[in-house]
């Protein structure tokens, strides 16, 4: 039974902030199959194409038949906790700070035995459900959950190390003018965020939903124009030290590619709002988030980007926009690497066309802004890194995995 976590008290300014440390991060290339699974919230094991054996840990040949045909596939998650061990004085700095720490051995119903981190409600000899999670080093680790939901389950101390749960965290949502931004604010408040700072650019321009946003409890509207370096720096000077989760809800969608556009001002706006805005935010907020990755219950935990799935494959009908999104995707990988030493996750939420005015003429299916908001909160609670929301995004992902050239031709048809 987990005691619910309490809202953290104000920090004692006489105490030094605990700096982030990393759990062991070395992995073999083969075991990045688990990293991929963890990033997407899937449970995948290597499965021998020749004899059908599931195996663990990652290896290059099947332990049963020596076949090299060992693809990662989605595997059954159920197992039994064979034994548990509580580490009281680990040699590793990261775990020593977090001791006591429970790990265990789980016999999977599909065959292999896993060394795993344990949720506090897992009992020796009892059934467990497994997942792979990204730990504070960004690498995949196995995690055993109790079979059924238990009280205050998500408040488990070891589980919270694997996630970026908004509960009691302080969030910056960069653009409250958009419907997506407003839905994200509402979803984060429902998820228990203690305060949501909401950026509003050009506050002299009224916007839809403004009154409701201003009336929300625990929501603070702040001036933020992410295209303006100084505006971003000024906000970071005020609240940079208390942003635990940053959700970039910038939305600047314009149709058109290259040849049907006159001049470059629209392209420039796209770059300013998406790519440069991202750069400004990262430079202003990134380093303090990285430094605060181990700062207690409300440590800095995650940076969320909402990206078009056409960042992965250009959709010429929105070609220049796709390119700006591709730039942001590339930058997100840079940020992810740079934030990793702080244990701060970078979550990329890929969507197809949203159900907003700028995709008005695009036929359905379109993604409801509320679905994006739910996906973000879910990703934070589950500790995911790559999320695909809606049918279009999922379909593009699958088609890219099958044949990227076909995707290029078909999107450009």
């Amino acid at each position: 039974m987990i005691e619910p976590i309490q809202k953290p008290r104000r920090k004692n300014p006489l105490q030094r902030t605990q700096l982030p440390t990393s759990p062991p991060r070395a992995r073999s290339r083969a075991s990045h199959g688990f990293t991929r699974a963890a990033a997407e919230g899937r449970f995948m094991l290597q499965h021998c194409g020749a004899c059908g054996t599931f195996c663990y840990p990652a290896r290059d040949a099947c332990p049963a038949c020596l076949s090299a045909d060992l693809a990662f596939t989605d595997a059954p998650r159920r197992g039994t906790l064979l034994s548990e061990t509580t580490l009281h004085i680990p040699a590793d700095v990261h775990f020593r700070e977090r001791a006591p720490w429970r790990i265990g051995l789980v016999a999977m119903e599909c065959g292999p035995t896993l060394v795993t981190h344990l949720h506090a409600d897992c009992e020796e000899g009892g059934p467990v459900v497994m997942s792979f999670q990204l730990d504070k080093s960004g690498q995949a680790v196995a995690f055993a959950h109790p079979e059924r939901e238990t009280p205050n389950m998500t408040d488990d101390r070891q589980w919270r190390e694997m996630t970026a749960d908004p509960k009691f965290r302080r969030v910056l949502v960069t653009n409250g003018r958009s419907i997506v931004g407003q839905e994200v604010v509402a979803a984060l408040k429902t998820a228990g965020a203690s305060i949501v700072f909401v950026g509003v650019a050009e506050p002299w321009k009224p916007f839809r939903g403004e009154d409701a946003l201003r009336a929300m409890e625990g929501v603070e509207i702040v001036p933020l124009d992410i295209g303006d370096e100084k505006s971003v720096a000024d906000l970071a000077a005020d609240v940079g030290g208390k942003v635990d989760i940053l959700v970039n809800t910038t939305e600047h969608v314009r149709a058109g590619g290259l040849l049907d556009r006159q001049g470059t001002s629209v392209v420039r706006d796209e770059i300013d709002q998406s790519y440069l805005g991202f750069v400004h935010l990262a430079q202003a907020f990134g380093s303090s988030m990285r430094m605060r990755g181990s700062d207690g219950v409300n440590s800095a935990a995650a940076w969320v980007n909402i990206l078009s799935v056409y960042a992965l494959a250009n959709w010429p009908a929105f070609g220049a926009y796709s390119a700006s999104q591709a730039a942001c995707l590339s930058l997100s990988h840079c940020l992810r690497a740079e934030l990793r030493s702080g244990g701060v996750k970078v979550v990329n939420v890929f969507t197809g066309p949203l159900d907003i005015e700028w995709f008005q003429t695009v036929p359905p299916p379109k993604v409801a802004p509320r679905a994006v908001a739910s996906a973000i909160v879910s990703a934070l609670k589950r500790g995911l890194e790559d999320v695909f929301v809606g049918d279009v995004a999922e379909e593009i992902r699958q088609r890219l995995a099958a044949n990227p050239k076909a995707v290029e031709r078909e999107l450009g048809a």
């Binding site: 050009e202 506050p203 002299w204 321009k205 009224p206 001036p223 124009d225 295209g227 303006d228 370096e229 100084k230 505006s231 001049g263 001002s265 629209v266 420039r268 706006d269």
Partner: protein
């Protein structure tokens, strides 16, 4: 004019006998800019990007890169800005006659009317009433419309509603009349444009732009401190940046007014 008079003038500026009033808002990223429907090209907002500030990027010096549209902040409109002035000679900020950059002004105070009605329109009778008190508007003078709009907070200043901006300005008849019957050198306002917020619904649309620039005259907007100017007798110094074929430019607008001493 002999050089003595010019030196006398310089002395009067130095002594305060001629007072210099700054009619300019600070050029900053926060200042409202004209809002067009989003499917049109947009004025780039003011951006001030630091190159260095006595730091690793330049240890002994501070400087910035700037970007902004020609029509941001307190700015000047040249005739080439509007289709009606597109074929006129010397119609851009780099070619317009420099002597036009210094000219006297008539200031028409409509602050009372504008306080009551955000959509207040300046009309010929209003100007005629002003002329009753202050005399006929001489040729090659600026006409500046004082509304005290510059004293508002920026949301009220832009005053955007779901049917567009509601800010005061001139009607079509008075603009044509000022250009053709009074020969003004230009028209200046405190609001975001020389035209009223709802001027797109006038005939012709945006009459200040239409008639001023069609007649080779100039516009000044986003002015402040007009309440410090006398109805007549102020001299305006408005020299836009010499931008190649530029349609306008942010600028420092100064008014010289009789002071103490």
């Amino acid at each position: 004019m002999d050089s003595n008079s010019l030196m006398q003038f310089a002395g009067a500026v130095a002594s305060g006998a001629v007072r210099v009033v700054d009619l300019t808002f600070t050029l900053s990223p926060d200042f409202p800019v004209i809002v067009l429907p989003p499917e049109f090209g947009q004025a780039a907002p003011v951006r001030i990007q630091q190159i260095s500030r006595y730091d690793a990027n330049g240890p002994a010096w501070y400087w910035n890169n700037l970007t902004f549209g020609e029509h941001t902040g307190t700015h000047f409109d040249a005739p080439i800005h509007w289709f009606t002035g597109k074929d006129l000679p010397n119609n851009a900020v780099d070619t317009l006659p420099v002597r036009d950059m210094i000219a006297p002004a008539c200031v028409i105070d409509c602050s009372t009317q504008a306080a009551k009605d955000a959509d207040f329109l300046l009309t010929i009778p209003v100007v005629e009433a002003w002329e009753e008190s202050h005399g006929r508007i001489p040729e090659r003078h600026w006409v500046l419309l004082r509304t005290d709009w510059s004293k508002k907070g920026w949301r009220d200043y832009a005053n955007l509603k779901d049917d567009g901006a509601h800010t005061p300005g001139p009607n079509a008849a008075v603009m044509r009349w000022l250009v053709e019957e009074r020969g003004v050198i230009g028209f200046g306002t405190e609001t975001i444009g020389t035209d009223a917020g709802q001027a797109g619904h006038l005939d012709p649309p945006y009459p200040a732009h239409h008639f001023l620039h069609g007649g080779g005259r100039y516009g000044l907007q986003c002015l402040c401190n007009l309440d410090q100017l006398p109805p007549t007798g102020a001299v305006i110094v408005a020299a836009p940046l010499k931008i190649q074929n530029g349609s306008g430019s942010p600028l420092r607008v100064l008014a010289l007014v009789p002071g103490q001493g």
